[in-house]
Symmetry: C2
Subunit: 318 residues, 2 copies
């Protein structure tokens, strides 16, 4: 293996690919909309195109591809067994098919684990041995690092902080449960809560919008729209309840919050801290530094590259 | 250090001490009611008496004492900083005062961590590298083992599964939060719920009792008392919700359930499994073997002894 890799991050919305060197520099980075199809064919084709672009433009020939996936990676086979936000990947034999398409060694990594390692390598949790990375996106992803190592678990499913139940009779969750963190603090949940509550806020500017996303709601909230302020406050309350539990259970040194809905930081952070103060034990709550992710949408790519370099021995840092 | 230690377990109700050898055998074991006082003096005196008894009867002279405590142990100082169920221990300098009283080397260990390691060494989670041990007693304790090592965290507070919030507006918890697992599934909570609900069950035999504990309620429930059946069912529902979260977050191989209220196993286990099936991801839920603790009230002593032997190099098993 070279000291460059192709590192990708496959999201429900976007697919990103980059040539990354062993210092974590993205030498060339491309992004496209994730093609949705009944199977993984279009995704594999697109990765092929983007990889060709990366190779041509950088004039490099990476010998391995590491790909972050929004679902658990089977520990032994290194394969996907269930991807809630991209069900067409299930049973797709992605490793072998990407390897064939690109003529390259392929490894998969869970995207939240990759993001957590990325933030630890070059981002917001640098220097911390134990951390939790929470990604508030379409869903709520979670990556846990203990003693410098990702916690994957024997099924590769560890870290699913988004599916801690906070309201046993709360909104139905895609996972089959009710009232998961994801139903309150994801970008999707913020939009849903705005729709649920807008009747109580006839003055809200939301009524002037035909369509809105969590970023739009944050913009309105920043300008004082009471509905939007309330929606982000609720997202913060539930995020705080979940993180208080994680602080009590894991006693982490740092908690990194990223993802699209983390844009709303200023509107949810007070409510979040208030719940943590109330519900977590004092010592570990004071210990846990809660910080915004700093690598943005590149965290997964950077962390996936780190894990590939670490696996091949190019980076030995624990 | 010899291949025997004095190992103790200080609970809110009972104090246990034993001479334990490196095979985990309790050569002599004594138990007394935990003396409650404004400070730790009486506890230290009692440990002194019990230790003298152990030394005399066994004719041995253990060179070290390891003591399991119902609270977090400060990682660097090895001292106590907060013990909710024995507040008189706070700032008691227990290590040095026990060392003086007994003329022995002293180390402290969190009781839930000790119990988890005991069950892994010689009990219900033997052979599993990652496990969670939940103790349903006066409170709900939790010990987590990952890759064969206890998860303590930098403040020694990790593992507090009893203080995951399951009902944000639920019953007030001693920790300052509301609706913690401890408020639904501890022996204390089972008694509280029986009192809260008994008005709705005029036929219940509970009305014939002047006082009852969780074991008494279990006996009635076993004979079909509908109130007692319902109370244990609720305890099982909330235990299942909490464990589903832990399965999603930690992907453990085994979950060991012990403590006094685990006596009610037959009355709560179905409700618990039902919530786990509903709320946890399928693969890790199928993976996690949920078993009853097998070392009973000795788990803490056995695990504390193991950790002492491991620390001194007498036992090297990871």
């Amino acid at each position: 293996m070279d000291d460059i890799v192709l590192a990708g991050d496959l999201g429900g919305t976007n697919l990103r690919l980059a040539v990354v060197n062993s210092a974590g520099k993205l030498i060339h980075r491309v992004e496209a909309e994730t093609p949705r199809h009944i199977n993984a064919l279009r995704i594999i084709e697109l990765v092929g195109c983007l990889a060709a672009e990366c190779r041509t433009i950088t004039g490099t020939d990476p010998k391995s591809l590491v790909f972050a996936i929004p679902g658990p990676i089977h520990a032994e086979k290194g394969e996907i067994f269930n991807v809630p936000n991209l069900p067409e990947l299930k049973g797709s034999d992605l490793v072998n098919r990407l390897a064939e398409e690109l003529d390259i060694a392929v490894m998969l990594e869970n995207d939240a684990t990759a993001a957590a390692m990325g933030e630890r390598w070059l981002g917001a949790s640098k220097g911390f041995d134990s951390s939790i990375c929470v990604t508030l996106g379409t869903g709520v992803g979670g990556g846990i690092i203990i003693d410098g190592k990702p916690l994957r678990g024997p099924d590769g499913t560890a870290g699913e902080i988004g599916h801690i139940c906070l309201e046993p009779l709360g909104p139905k969750c895609g996972c089959g449960s009710n009232g998961c963190l994801e139903q309150f603090s994801s970008a999707t949940a913020i939009v849903r809560m705005a729709n649920e509550l807008k009747g109580e806020y006839p003055e809200s500017k939301v009524h002037c919008m035909t369509d809105f996303d969590s970023v739009g709601l944050f913009q309105l909230g920043k300008h004082g729209d009471a509905l939007c302020v309330e929606v982000f406050r609720r997202a913060g309350v539930y995020l705080g309840i979940a993180l208080a539990g994680m602080i009590n259970v894991l006693n982490p040194e740092a908690i990194v919050i990223g993802g699209g809905a983390a844009e709303g930081w200023d509107l949810f952070i007070d409510a979040m801290h208030s719940e943590i103060r109330k519900r977590a034990f004092r010592e570990p709550a004071e210990r846990a530094r809660i910080v915004r992710a700093s690598l943005g949408s590149d965290a997964g790519i950077v962390g996936a590259a780190f894990l590939a370099f670490q696996k091949s021995g190019i980076i030995s840092e624990a």
